[in-house]
């Protein structure tokens, strides 16, 4: 562990039920979700967890479907951890952290079938809608993963299809009233294990002190649709059970912030 002193301090506080910003162990910071923050995107959202700020935008295009999925639309999720948002991020191709966020968000949306890709085909084997979700960090004050997942789904929720001609040429300037075919709203909750404590929505100091983390994405009915463990530490089955309980409970709370 790189920063033993910090870890000891964070853990000592947690054992007294204290966090640096005086929250409960399973409380999120204030969450705000704003929709339609970038007008050239087909859908967009800004999510803030306290000082953490993430933007997401959806662009649509018409492309040739994948050969093994000739009757489906395409989904792509990309994350940019910009050097604007933290002194620790560098310009250049996405690093492991950015790739992990993109992959976990992608799995949550794909596996829950939140976007019904079968309804996004135009000509089998020839033309399908491609849904490209880009997540961009603006300020990293911890928990980019959950903020990214919420921003991505909020941008999807905000998306309006552009007009398309008989020859399948898109007029991006003319939006229709139609949204994407949606069937669910998956929410990612990351639970951290620090010592014997489980917390959510970590600050940077807490993130630095973690033993293990588990991101759990759940659907509206509580079904789990994606998981990802991180960190070097170990988790018992009991701990995983507790983490699942926390994730299902918190997901309901977060979902209600967007879906009103």
């Amino acid at each position: 562990m790189l920063n033993k002193e910090l870890r000891r301090h964070v853990l000592k506080a947690l054992q007294q039920g204290l966090r640096y910003d005086s929250r409960g162990l399973t409380d999120y910071r204030d969450i705000t979700v704003e929709l339609g923050i970038s007008k050239n995107a087909e859908g967009s959202a800004r999510v803030k967890f306290g000082e953490t700020e993430v933007l997401a935008g959806v662009k649509l295009a018409v492309e040739k479907p994948y050969p093994d999925r000739p009757n489906d639309g395409m989904l792509m999720v990309n994350t940019e951890l910009t050097p604007l948002s933290s002194p620790d991020f560098e310009a250049g191709p996405p690093g492991d952290d950015a790739i992990e966020i993109a992959r976990v968000v992608d799995r949550g949306i794909r596996e829950s079938k939140a976007i019904d890709l079968s309804k996004l085909n135009l000509i089998p084997g020839e033309k399908s809608w491609s849904v490209m979700i880009d997540i961009v960090s603006v300020n990293d004050a911890g928990n980019l993963m959950d903020a990214a997942a919420l921003a991505a789904m909020s941008a999807v929720f905000n998306t309006k299809m552009p007009t398309i001609s008989d020859k399948y040429v898109i007029d991006y300037k003319k939006q229709t009233k139609k949204g994407l075919p949606l069937s669910d709203f998956p929410i990612a909750i990351t639970v951290l294990k620090i010592g014997d404590k489980l917390i959510v929505d970590p600050l940077i100091e807490e993130r630095e002190a973690l033993d293990a983390r588990l991101t759990i994405t759940t659907m509206e009915d509580g079904t789990v649709c994606a998981m990802q463990k991180g960190g070097e530490g170990q988790l018992s089955i009991e701990e995983i059970g507790e983490m699942l309980d926390i994730a299902q409970r918190k997901a309901k709370e977060l979902r209600s912030k967007v879906k009103k």
């Binding site: 970038s38 007008k39 050239n40 662009k59 940019e80 604007l84 961009v136 603006v138 300020n139 991006y172």
Partner: protein, 238 residues
């Protein structure tokens, strides 16, 4: 010639509505939000900080490094592929030169000041909005400066010389268009960015520059106001 009136009803020397705010990114040493019409620029400044690899260090002065980037969903039409393009690299280095002479780099030798500009939404004039945001962010970071840098695009559409072209004007097809982004140091009154594409006469260039310089002075006031608002608010809270 059909261009007698601007599509959004502005006078030819009129800027789009501008909103500016300092200190919008808490992790950064300095930051700013600059919205001009439908173009939005965010800028963050980190430094002076260590510069690696070491051979890049200059013992006589600090290094200013600028990165301009459009967010993938920021443009109308196709998604902008992430990562540096020839266009974004050129804009990064002309922005760097536009800011350089305003910053007292000799005060922090061997270090780097990084400026990151990100655009969440674009409607022409992005490099100028980026420069305006970066200049506020540098001042917000407490970097020693001789002057602010204020920038705007100017030029002409058909036979009309004007400032602050939006996308509709930049892509006007019924007649000639000249797009000339400029940056001025408001106190010295001298230009640090000058580019042009299109066709334009010498007389029109001079007229556009005069008009652009006036517009930059208005932007300068907005930049100063953004900084004052942040630091006066800071004092009230203290």
């Amino acid at each position: 010639m059909t261009f007698n009136k601007r599509p959004d009803g502005r006078a030819f020397d009129e800027l789009r509505p501008i909103e500016a705010k300092a200190g919008v990114i808490p992790r950064a040493d300095g930051s700013a939000y600059f919205k001009q019409g439908n173009t939005i620029a965010l800028a963050a400044v980190y430094g002076p900080r260590d510069l690696y690899p070491k051979f890049l260090q200059d013992p006589t002065k600090g290094v200013l490094r600028v990165r301009y980037n459009m967010m993938p969903f920021s443009g109308s039409g196709d998604r902008v592929k992430p990562g540096a393009s020839r266009r974004s690299r050129e804009i990064s280095f002309v922005t760097e030169r536009a800011l350089l002479s305003a910053v007292n780099l000799e005060e922090f030798p061997n270090t780097v000041v990084d400026v990151f500009i990100e655009l969440p939404q674009t409607d022409a004039g992005t490099r100028c909005a980026g420069i305006c945001a970066a200049s506020i962010a540098l001042a917000d970071a407490g970097i020693s400066m001789k002057d602010m840098v204020s920038a705007v695009s100017c030029g002409k559409v058909e036979d009309k010389v004007l400032v602050d072209l939006n996308y509709d004007e930049e892509s006007h097809e019924e007649g000639p268009v000249a797009d000339m982004p400029i940056a001025f140091l408001p106190r010295s009154g001298k230009a640090t960015l000058l580019q042009m594409d299109g066709m334009i006469s010498k007389e029109e260039i001079i007229k556009a520059l005069e008009m652009g310089k006036e517009a930059c002075l208005k932007i300068y006031e907005i930049q100063k106001k953004a900084l004052k608002e942040k630091f006066l608010k800071g004092e009230q809270n203290a």
